[in-house]
Amino acid sequence: MLKIENIAKQYANHKALDNVSFTVEKGSIFGLLGPNGAGKTSLIRIINQITAPDEGAIYINDERLNSSHIGKIGYLPEERGLYKKMEIGEQMIYLARLKGLSRKDALQRCNYWFEKMEMQSWWKKKVEDLSKGMQQKVQFVATVIHQPELIILDEPFSGFDPINAEIIKNEILELNKQGATIIFSTHRMESVEELCDSIALINKAHKILDGRLKDIKNSYRNNTFSIEYIGGEINIQSSDLFDVIKKYQTQETQQIILKLKDKIEINDALHYLLPLVKIHQLTEVVPTINEIFIQQVQGINSYA
């Protein structure tokens, strides 16, 4: 769907993007992740043709990015905004027509979405008369009204209350099921982790990691497990099977985090533990995206 090739962008004396490449599969939900100021918004603006890259190229459906793609992209900017004094219905039609829809189609799409989001009664209202949550809903509709193939959401859930965030999340998933490709851009990595199929991590203008979320996580598994058990009087020590990394004492149970030694399976460890304690819970410790990110950044820094 979207291929980003060696993109570089320089602002005066600040490098916003340096040789960034990755691919977004058609129909996937993609997370563009990185801290504030990493270059995410710069990249999104290039994809939206708001600015042009200094180097590199972007392809949509194997076609070099051009003005015909504008109508295929829906963009929710981080800084939300609408005309405050314009009636909402009229405003939605205007924004849809700017994306290339005819007046008739725009009206039809507006009616569809206003009904779906239960905002028919807002048609004649002005944005300044709506609550913040309602404005966010309108903004979302403005993003998807022209049935874009690619939907780019910059910090999508910031500013939404939990109920509206859930509504919007479900709408996004539904659009994805209907075939739209979604890109989430956020610095709050945990907020989209469960939604994304693939991710790219960006830090200080460089891409530091990308790929399928599952593969990335698998590559970061390191035979570490968390075991919660009852039988506090027995003090489990590191052995031939595993090293104990951490111990916790909660009110009723105890918890240890252990790392298996080479060629040892978790079953071997359980065999050893079962006669000693009553196992309450066993989970594999897989690093979160956040932890992977920090590990990566520190790794890069230590090389430097």
Partner: protein
């Protein structure tokens, strides 16, 4: 192109539909008429406060010659100078002291607690001079009656040579039209230019701009806004012209004296209106692009001050020049250059046109104005495209230059 039209349409309709637009359309001509009437009324009836002058005349030859007018009354002072001065402190009257040696010294004293107005001073001076002049004429043996009967009064009947033959022209009518055109174009450039600026700031602060420019190019958005608001201005003028021609039809013969009507007829109204619209449009496009660039560079209206100054300077300069110089010397070299340079030509040329401008100068000026607004629009667009996405930064002129040099 289709998208630019869409933007023009929105900018136009959202303004024309406003109640304030209708209000402006009807209220401004009314206010203008009302103001003219008020000024006329006040000058007629105003200044009717009577000033009393207590005259101490040591020569004795002036006191009886003073003529009382509506505003000035001359009375002989009943006291000596010192007492009169004391009295003046209490009752705010003026004391005019004419010393014995007035003819040789040429000086009198006007004493009062408050400052005398220019009018009072010049009136007293005139009367004194006249009285003295007649007295000296009589002393020289010249018969006053004969002198007064000699009163040549020559009036210039100006004939302008044109292709259609001789034509009556009226310089005072040209004068009036020049004034009106200069004021109108100056005001309109400001009013509609700052509307563009405010529109840009509004889009920037409400953050709609990023949504819009993900659909259209920043240049299209800027151009759409400028053209849309320009059309609002033209609509307003058109309505004013229609309204005032209606009003003129119904009321002209009663309200305006014939002398003014015939004076207006010597001015080529249609020609002036067409050139006015051309210069309004050209000047508006030139300046509003700069206004748009300023709007894009700031986060709110209070920050615009520092950038507004260089924009308003040429306008203000021409405006002042228009009244102090161009209108009196419409065909001088300076006037010529001011009406050719794009930044000053909209006002300067409108002042010159009622006095007649050679065609080649008009065409040159319009051509340069077009070149000028293409240039400012190009410069403004390069600043605008960066500025609208820049928030929370204190902007300096150096920063603007940097933006200008950014690649796409």
């Amino acid at each position: 192109m289709r998208k630019t039209l869409l933007i023009i349409q929105r900018e136009y309709l959202s303004r024309v539909k406003k109640k304030s637009f209708l209000l402006m359309t009807f209220l401004v001509p009314l206010l203008f008429l009302g103001m003219t009437a008020l000024v006329a009324y006040l000058t007629k009836t105003g200044g009717d406060a009577i000033t009393q002058i207590n005259v101490i005349d040591e020569t004795g030859s002036f006191l009886n010659e003073f003529k009382n007018s509506k505003e000035l009354i001359f009375l002989p002072a009943s006291q000596n100078l010192a007492d009169a001065k004391n009295l003046a402190r209490q009752n705010q009257d003026f004391v005019l002291y004419i010393p014995q040696d007035i003819e040789t010294n040429g000086k009198v004293q006007l004493i009062s607690e408050k400052k005398a107005s220019m009018f009072v001073m010049s009136e007293i001076e005139n009367q004194l001079n006249n009285i003295l002049k007649y007295k000296q004429l009589r002393n020289a043996g010249i018969d006053i009656k004969t002198l007064e009967s000699i009163n040549p009064h020559i009036k210039i009947e100006y004939k302008e040579l044109t292709d259609q033959g001789e034509k009556d022209t009226n310089t005072s009518a040209a004068y009036a039209v020049s004034f009106a055109a200069a004021i109108l174009i100056y005001l309109c450039l400001f009013i509609y230019g700052s509307q563009v600026m405010r529109g840009v700031i509004e889009e920037k602060t409400s953050r709609i701009v990023e949504v819009v420019i993900s659909s259209v190019k920043p240049f299209q958005l800027m151009l759409g806004k400028i053209i849309g608001i320009g059309l609002v201005g033209l609509t307003q003028f058109l309505l004013w012209i229609i309204l005032s021609s209606f009003a003129a039809k119904f009321s002209s013969s009663d309200l305006l004296p014939n002398s003014i009507l015939s004076a207006i007829q010597t001015v080529p109204v249609g020609y002036i209106m067409v050139t006015f619209l051309i210069y309004f449009l050209g000047g508006y496009l030139l300046y509003s692009a700069l206004f748009a660039a300023v709007g894009s560079a700031v986060d709110n209206e209070t920050e615009t001050q520092q950038f507004m100054f260089p924009i308003t300077l040429p306008l203000l300069f021409t405006y002042i020049m228009a009244f102090s110089f161009i209108v009196n010397n419409p065909n001088s070299t300076l006037s010529f250059w001011l009406s050719i340079i794009p930044f000053t030509s909209p006002i300067a040329m409108m002042v010159r046109i009622p006095f007649g401008v050679p065609d080649w100068q008009l065409y040159l000026s319009i051509a340069l104005l077009i070149v000028g607004f293409i240039l400012t629009t190009w410069v403004a667009a390069r600043i605008y495209r960066v500025g609208i996405l820049m928030y929370g930064k204190k902007i300096s002129y150096r920063e603007l230059v940097k933006w200008f040099t950014y690649k796409e």
